[in-house]
Structures are given as structure tokens and as C-alpha cells.
């Protein structure tokens, strides 16, 4: 093959390179810079090597936050994905119900994060919140600012309320792309409802579900605003997830070195999980084709 080499092409890539540099690489490098030095003021700085990393990785409070984070993210995925699929399957396929349900579903997605937190903070209060009041009326002793379990449930329910719609909409788009002939053929073939789901609907939703899982993983793994507004990470540290832990370290205690080191670790965890998940799913798809 004779490839035409044309070095001028590199000039065309330059603008993109600058934009990426300014928006991503330079800020990230600053963090790297902080993570390997102990900085008192611009003149006084020491290179500390991997010390911050070691300190952070050995921090048991961080381990606790990480475990909480993993449990939280897994719960979110295990609730929102099946629930989203189930709701998408029950949505109407034609008529006025389509637009009505689309609008209704899109509403939570349009509300800013901190407002979501505020809504649920008020809604869940036993004294003035409708939700909290009703639950207590039912004879259940519910108080999210005192009881860690209640706080957890509230944060989870809030996330489910906020984000399940995203999965529903993605799945619904996947379902809508299935031609009627598939359902007709399935009827002729005598397929059960389950077989229709398993062999027609699920395969068509696969690619949108991959995107849905990735988005929900990343987002819930980085969740900050809503629990911050709702519980402030409490009671105790019950709902302190990684972001909030990090913020406390960086802004609260001003431990910039460890905070920077941890930011990098945090970033790498998300990158790694996404990459592994994506590769596994895509390879599974490819293997099937052979």
C-alpha cells in the first residue's frame, strides 16, 4: 500500500489538541502536580513521591467510603436497570399515551441535582414533609436524619426517582426500533411472552442498555450534590460517598496533596471499570457473531 504522507494534516488537528489540552489535560496535570508534592506556598514545596498515594490508600475512612460507594452504586444499578426495562415494556406503543408518558418521564431528568436533593429533604421530613409524615402515620418510625438505614433508603429512592426515567427512555427507544413483523413472527412461531422478551426485545435493547449502565455507573459513582443537600453525608458518615469524602479532604481540611492523589485514584477506578465493562460486553457481542 502506498500511503500518502502529508504532515500538513497535523496542523488541522492542532485546534482540537488545544481545546482538549485546556479542558482536560492541563487541569488533570495540575492534580498530578499536587499529588506528588507537599506545597505550603508557591515558593515552599517538596517532592514527596508516592507518599500521598500510600497515605490515602491506607486510610480506613476512605476504605469505608469506598465500600459504601460500591454498595450504593450496585444498588442503584440493580434497581434502576430492571425497573427501567420493566417500565419501558409497559409503556404504550401508540396513541396520546406515548407523548403523555414521555413528558412525565422526562420531568425528573430536567430537575437540577441540588433541587432534587432539596425536594427530597423536605418531602422526607416527618414534621413538614408529605412523604415522611405519611410513613410515620403508617406506624413506621422513619427519620432520615437520625437513622442511617432510613437515610440510605431515602438517598436510594431519590436516585431511583431521579434517574430511572433515563433507562426507561433508552430502553423505550430500543423497543420502538423493533419492526412489527418480529412480534408477528413470534406469534406464528408460538413464542411465549418470556421468549419474546428474551430473544427479541432484550437483544434489541442490548446496545442502549450498555450505554445506560455506563452512564448510571459513572454518575452514581460520582454522586455528590443530592446526598450533600439531603443528608450532608450523615447521620454520622452513613451516606458519605467518595466525592463527599474527597471534598471534605480538599476543601474542608485543605489536605491538597492527599486529595489530589485520591482524585487520581478515583478517576482511574471509574476509567478502569468502564473500560472493563465495555470491553467485556463488546467482546461478548463479537464472539456471538462467530
Amino acid at each position: 500500500m502506498n500511503k500518502i504522507t502529508n504532515n500538513k494534516a497535523w496542523f488541522l488537528v492542532l485546534p482540537v489538541f488545544f481545546i482538549v489540552a485546556i479542558s482536560a489535560i492541563i487541569p488533570l496535570m495540575t492534580v498530578v502536580n499536587y499529588s506528588v508534592q507537599d506545597i505550603f506556598d508557591p515558593q515552599t514545596r517538596f517532592f514527596v513521591g508516592t507518599e500521598w498515594f500510600e497515605q490515602v490508600l491506607g486510610d480506613s475512612r476512605l476504605h469505608d467510603a469506598l465500600i459504601r460507594q460500591i454498595i450504593y452504586t450496585l444498588s442503584v444499578l440493580f434497581i434502576e436497570i430492571p425497573l427501567g426495562i420493566a417500565v419501558a415494556l409497559t409503556l404504550p406503543r401508540k396513541g396520546w399515551g406515548v407523548s403523555a408518558s414521555m413528558v412525565l418521564l422526562a420531568l425528573p431528568l430536567l430537575i437540577p441535582w441540588n433541587v432534587v436533593g432539596t425536594i427530597w429533604q423536605i418531602f422526607g421530613r416527618a414534621d413538614i414533609g408529605l412523604g415522611g409524615y405519611v410513613i410515620n402515620l403508617l406506624g413506621i418510625d422513619y427519620n432520615y436524619s437520625q437513622n442511617p438505614m432510613d437515610a440510605w433508603v431515602t438517598v436510594l429512592v431519590m436516585d431511583v426517582w431521579h434517574w430511572t426515567s433515563l433507562i426507561v427512555l433508552l430502553c423505550y427507544a430500543g423497543l420502538r426500533s423493533i419492526p412489527d413483523a418480529y412480534y408477528q413472527a413470534a406469534k406464528i412461531d408460538g413464542a411465549s411472552r418470556w421468549a419474546v422478551f428474551r430473544f427479541i426485545q432484550l437483544p434489541k435493547m442490548q446496545s442502549v442498555l450498555v450505554i445506560g449502565v455506563l452512564l448510571r455507573f459513572m454518575d452514581s459513582f460520582m454522586i455528590y450534590t443530592e446526598p450533600f443537600v439531603l443528608t450532608g453525608g450523615g447521620p454520622g458518615n452513613a451516606t458519605t460517598f467518595l466525592s463527599q469524602f474527597l471534598t471534605r479532604m480538599a476543601v474542608g481540611q485543605f489536605d491538597l496533596g492527599p486529595a489530589a492523589a485520591f482524585s487520581l485514584v478515583y478517576f482511574l477506578i471509574i476509567l478502569l471499570v468502564c473500560w472493563v465493562f465495555y470491553t467485556v460486553v463488546m467482546n461478548a457481542g463479537k464472539r456471538e457473531e462467530q
Binding site: 419492526p179 413483523a181 418480529y182 408477528q184 413472527a185 406469534k187 406464528i188 412461531d189 408460538g190 413464542a191 411465549s192 421468549a195 430473544f199 427479541i200 437483544p203 456471538e288 457473531e289 462467530q290
Partner: protein, 364 residues
Amino acid sequence: MARIDLKSLAHSYFPDPKSDEDYALRRMEHVWEDGGAYALLGPSGCGKTTLLNIISGLLTPSHGQVLFDGKDVTHLAPEDRNIAQVFQFPVIYDTMTVYENLAFPLRNRGVDEKRVDARVREIAGMLDLTGKLKQKARGLGADEKQTISLGRGLVRDDVSAILFDEPLTVIDPHLKWVLRRKLKEIHNKLRPTMVYVTHDQVEALTFADKVVVMYGGKVVQLGTPQELFENPAHTFVGYFIGSPGMNIMDCKIDDGAAWIDGQRIGLSDRHLDAVSKQSGKIELGIRPEFLTLETGTAAKGADGVEVNIIKVEDLGQYKIATTRFGASEIKVKLGEDEQVIGQSGILRFAPEWTKLYADSQLVA
């Protein structure tokens, strides 16, 4: 295998149809004999798919009944009717292998695995899919996918009927020919009732013993290919079957003859008798095969209609002459060594093959 009766069947997609126009299928009585190979022929939008979906149970008709061997199945679901249907575009189950795709209709009905295996291998053998049985269906080409769809339609050997809805549309011409022969073979061997929808007359005529022609939501004729050719019951059949189709011209009946643009065409008493009872628009139809064109010296003083010859196409086996008189354009089929001389000639109509239509329906 079963005989299928359609009893005063009609269907509209609208909840409260008002005029005839709202009906995708106009009221019809029709019988599909047990073991028949039928072609259902008609232009796009005439209601072929609607009719098939009603027979298979995907659609419940708004009026009338469907009987399988005398038993009313109008309100039974497809899975309870024991019927197979193949659609126009391939439907395959992506995540399954070719084998699993073919086995799917059998396994869903709890057929035991030994029987499933035997049937799948037999059908795969017939359709040249044996080498591909272990492959995932997802990666295959459109031809192969449609062949699999066809295979799923054929794999059950206990069905009342097999319905094909333009199944070979996406398939390339050579394979199309091969598959059509296979279907014919299967029909000869097992004699299932088969209904094959197409809008391609060649396909219809090669596949079927009986051809059903639909037009505007109605069955306009049922007959053997020869009957459709010789005696079209509707102007649409005349025009649709045959290549080129029947010449159809507006005419007036007067003075014991048909008049087209001031030229006289002789009719028999049979014609005159029948047409005298008719009102409505009268048309005269004749196939290009049944016209004779005299030119040159032979035309001098010959009896017939004077025409201008517009063009002559030589199609190898035969020639097509396009002629004109007044506003009518008439095609004539000529033998390969018939000569056409000059720009004008005399056209003769064979009286026994001249047809008269009133409001598009054959009268004589």
C-alpha cells in the same frame, strides 16, 4: 392441511368505517381447497397482507368468519390455529444459531428433541443451510436470513396451511428461482395448503395451480393461469396478467357493432346479447396475441381497423407493434418473422377473443 373458508369476510382498519373506501377488504366469500397451491396476486395496497394476516390470526376481521375444515377459528390466536407464515422481510432471532432459529417453532410447541433434530436437518438440507447450522444468525446476509425465515415456515409438518407474504422480495433472482422450485417440490411432496402472495405474475404463474387476483380489496378472479389469460373476469386481470397486458379501450355499442373513435369493430350475437342488458361504462378488451396486423400489399382492401404504426420492438422470440388510431394505443404481438411494412396497416380483431366489460366486469 386444511380447507379454509372465508365467510362474508370484510375488514376495515377504522373503528367505524363509513364508505366502501374505508375497507381494506370488501365483503368476500372464498374457499381455499385443502392441498391447493395458490398464488395471491395483486398490486401493492390491494389488501393481500391484510387477507393473509386474517387467515393466520394476526388480525381479527371486522366482519365475517374464517373456518378451518369447517371449524370457526375467527377469534383464535395464531398459535392456536396451527398455521405458518413467512413475511416479506427476514425475521430472525439474532442471538440464536441457525439451528436454534429453525428449531424455535417446534420447541415452543414442546416437540421432542429427536423429532426437532430430524425436522431441522431435513429443512436445512432442502434449503442448503446444513453447513451453517452452527453459526449465529446475526452475521448472515439478507438472502440467508430470508432463507431461514422460510425454513421456520416450513419446519412444522402438521400445519393447516403455509402462508407466504412476498417471501422472495429481498432475494436475488437466481436464488429466487431455486427457492421457488424448492417450494413447488415441497408442495408436490407433502401437499400442504399454500398461499403465496406476490405482485410478480411470473412468480405467481410458475408457483401456483390456481391464481387468485385481488384488486381494490376484492377478489376479482380465481382461476388457473390459462383461465386468467384467456378469460379475464375484470379489466385489471386482463391488464395485469400477460406481457404486454390486454388492450382495453372505451367503446360504444351501436348498430350491431362496437365503435371506437369512429371505427367499427364487428361483434358476435353473443356479445350483443350480453351487452344489451348492461348499463355503465362499456370497454372492449383484446389481448395483443389475438390481433392480426396486415401491412403492405396485404392491407389493401382488407377488412378491419385502419391504424398508424408507431413502433415495432423486436424481443427475440416475438415482436411487439405499437399502433394507434384516434386516442387509443393498441399493442399487437407478432411472430418473429412477420414483417411490418410502412407506417400504417389494418388491424383485425378475432371475434372469439374480443371481450366486453361493463364497469370493469366481464360481460361477454
